[in-house]
């Protein structure tokens, strides 16, 4: 499953980070690395981008970019 298809309010663990170049490095720098927990908070009023919470802060990420993160939902 990828991050963009996660239901709102659910938490998942990142399994791998795809993409390339500046975008991928930016994702890694922001703390989205394999093993990190992310929670999808909401979508923007126009349906895109997403607001997620990671490492105790809020981040906005476009759905196209969220698709690069494969995640596994945590059962909590």
């Amino acid at each position: 499953m990828t991050l963009d298809s996660m239901p709102i309010g659910k938490t998942a663990k990142i399994e791998s980070v795809g993409g390339e170049g500046a975008l991928r490095l930016r994702l890694l720098d922001m703390g989205l690395i394999p093993g990190t927990e992310v929670t999808v908070q909401k979508t923007a009023p126009l349906g895109d981008p997403l607001e997620i919470s990671v490492r105790g802060y809020q981040l906005t990420i476009r759905k196209d970019d969220a698709r690069l993160l494969s995640v596994r939902e945590e059962n909590k």
Binding site: R26, A44, T60
Partner: protein, 669 residues
């Protein structure tokens, strides 16, 4: 000594800079400091300066901000680094800290917003975190001005003693440790030779930095292969590629540090408050209406109430002074040419600069409140989808909207865009948003050709401008700005109450900036236009505007406009005059027709057909921005060539569009 102030965006860096420098806003010209970074003398520490570098999350050479920061630190070798970190978001903030430690420069960590952490019942063990990171750590609250004196003292002491960070190894064992060790071995002598920290060189080699840094190390092919070999070995063992492994190594270290030193309090009050505010401001149905309401309010206050009131007040004072001086010169019997220079050249130039000033100050008051509260990030979040098709992010929305009021502050407002590419593109697009100074032109022409339908005419023009802007953006996106836009992965900071001091300082800065950089250009241009209007081709002073040099140039270039349906030299002349200020188009037409502005609705139909009037409106909508806007563009783009390209490009686009409209209109007739 010189200190570099480095930190994440939203960490309170600007506020700390203001607290560090106090009122000593001496801006020095340090080598390597770009136009965008400020430098000031540190309060109570004579001879010590702090350079405010752009807010960044990492020192990778991918965005212009990161490159500025890296180049300053590597090339200018500051005596110390003051690293500000948001204590309430410590994990991600320390990520940059670890990269700074690798540079082996005396560094102090300022843990900002400690008051928030404590207020929520959390603590951070300062002594322990300082030991684990190997640098002095000072808790501060930049907004409340707490801990600043201590921070200054610690920073100065650390730099004076050349106390380098003692911890640079962030993984004591495992494949990554082995990889660093073997790369380090190869690179040691090379790094020393060019005077760069060995640990930093190792990181750059693992990252595969392609900005020419690796070349400077002068490694042999053999050594490079050796390094690559150990990196690949590490990748295989870790099951992660080099960049993910590097990020993982840093974050794992940070997690360990935090586990030992940070006691998290209850869910932060600021977070809960932000969620509540966001429930309204980024609400599915309310977000857009609220945003437009906020913009309308700011617009109305800036251009309608406060700004225009102050503008009128100031231009009235200037006019009073001008007429006083005028009478004085008259009585003195001054040469009429000199008198005209003073009144119509200098005073007119000063007047136009001064009339922009209140707009800038008032607008930037609102903009910095929007920025500092955290609302601007939400605007980007909400608007992103609309601008993505143009290759821009939501952040460009606000400057473009301000363009409808005045291009000058709009272009200045692009400074908040974090990516250079987005910034440039937004600057190029802003002039397509029809500014308020063009309204008199639309009004006069509507009255003359479309009586009673001026609202329709104006709306069409505004939409037409945006439409052409969108087309241009799409074209630029495919040509000049091809390539990957900077990723839109942006933090949504908690809402905060802005610091009054920061808001006021920003207003003052923008006003000073505008006066300093734009004043001479605008004044010179006004004097040139005055000269062209006041002298004839034999350089005799003339009161007859028909004989002036300006009119001669108008006659010369009038044929250019013939295909657009308005080849009259008086029209060409008024368009040239419009370069000094758009309002001048109408007044010049009034003077040249000899009947004055009030009679224009009677005289214009003699010069234009309905179709050519539309063509003229399209041309004025799109052609070169006024000299004040051009001066601002020049300042922000930092390139004469690019500025010239904007001016010429706008004129070309205007000509082509007007030609298309005229040709189509003539065919339909």
């Amino acid at each position: 000594m010189i200190f570099a102030l480095v930190g994440n965006q939203n960490s309170g860096k600007t506020t700390l800079y203001n607290a560090l420098t106090g009122s000593n806003r001496h801006v020095g010209n340090f080598p390597g400091v770009t136009v965008d970074s400020k430098a000031g003398e540190i309060r109570g520490a004579k001879g010590h300066f702090v350079v405010d570098l752009p807010g960044i999350y990492s020192i990778r050479p991918y965005s212009s901000e990161e490159i500025v920061t890296r180049d300053f630190i590597i090339n200018e070798k500051p005596d110390g680094i003051i690293n500000i970190a948001d204590a309430s978001n410590i994990e991600r903030n320390l990520y940059l800290t670890l990269q700074l430690l690798e540079l082996q420069i005396p560094t102090v960590l300022a843990l900002n917003m400690m008051d928030e952490v404590r207020g929520n019942g959390g603590t951070i063990d300062i002594a322990a975190i300082s030991k684990l990171l190997g640098i002095p750590v000072v808790p501060v609250s930049a907004v409340k001005n707490e801990g600043i004196t201590e921070l200054i003292k610690t920073a100065v002491d650390t730099a004076r003693n050349r106390a380098l960070p003692t911890v640079t190894d962030f993984c004591p064992s495992g494949p990554f440790h082995r990889c660093i060790h073997s790369v380090s071995h190869v690179v040691e002598d090379h790094a020393q030779r060019i005077g760069i920290s060995r640990r930093y060189a190792v990181t750059k080699l693992i990252e595969g930095d392609d900005s020419g840094f690796i070349g400077r190390l002068g490694l042999s092919q053999n050594e490079l292969e050796l390094i690559e070999h150990s990196i690949v070995e590490m990748e295989n063992e870790r099951g992660l590629d080099r960049n993910a492994a590097l990020a993982d190594m840093r974050y794992s270290f940070i997690e360990d540090v935090c586990r030992l030193t940070v006691v998290k309090g209850r869910v932060s009050r600021e977070r809960l408050r932000s969620e509540k505010i966001d429930r309204l401001l980024t609400n599915k149905t309310a977000a857009l209406p609220i945003f437009f309401a906020v913009m309308v309010l700011i617009f109305w206050l800036t251009f309608g109430v406060i700004g225009s009131f102050l503008s009128d007040l100031m231009s009235r004072d200037i006019d009073l002074l001008a007429s006083f001086v005028d009478r004085g010169l008259e009585r003195y019997g001054m040469n009429p040419a000199v008198q005209s220079l003073v009144i119509d050249g200098i005073f007119a130039g000063v007047g136009s600069v001064v009339s922009f000033l209140p707009l800038i100050v008032v607008l930037f008051f609102f903009l910095s409140v929007l920025e500092d509260t955290g609302y601007m990030a939400r605007v980007a979040f909400v608007m992103d989808k609309l601008l993505r098709g143009l290759g821009l992010s939501g952040r460009s929305f606000v400057p473009m909207i301000i363009g409808f009021g005045c291009s000058v502050p709009a272009i200045m407002a692009t400074r908040t865009l974090s990516s250079e590419r987005d910034r440039k593109m937004t600057i190029l697009l802003t002039p397509f948003m029809s500014c308020s100074a063009k309204i008199p032109i639309y009004a006069v022409f509507s009255a003359a050709f479309f009586p009673g339908r001026s609202a329709l005419v104006m709306t069409s023009l505004y939409i037409g401008g945006m439409f052409v802007g969108v087309l241009t953006a799409m074209l630029l996106n495919k040509t000049a700005f091809r390539g990957k836009p900077v990723p839109f992965v942006m933090e949504l900071p908690n809402y905060r109450i802005p610091s009054f001091k920061s808001v006021v300082l920003l207003m003052w800065e923008k006003a000073r900036d505008f006066l300093r950089k734009a004043f001479t250009v605008i004044l010179l241009a006004t004097i040139v236009i005055w000269f062209l209007g006041a002298f004839d081709s034999r350089l005799n002073f003339t009161e007859n505007s028909q004989e002036s040099l300006l009119a001669a140039i108008g006659r010369l270039i009038a044929p250019v406009f013939r295909p657009l349906g308005f080849g009259d030299w008086r029209i060409a002349t008024s368009l040239i005059a419009g370069f000094s200020a758009k309002e001048a188009v109408v007044s010049t037409l009034g003077v040249l027709t000899g009947a004055g502005v009030s009679a224009l609705d009677a005289t214009l139909p003699g010069m234009f057909t309905t179709v050519s009037a539309v063509s003229f409106l399209v041309f004025t909508l799109l052609y070169t921005p006024c000299i004040a806007a051009v001066a601002t563009i020049r300042r922000e783009l930092r390139s004469r060539l690019e500025t010239a390209a904007v001016v010429v490009g706008q004129c070309l686009i205007a000509w082509v569009c007007a030609y298309a409209v005229y040709t189509a209109g003539s065919l339909l007739r």
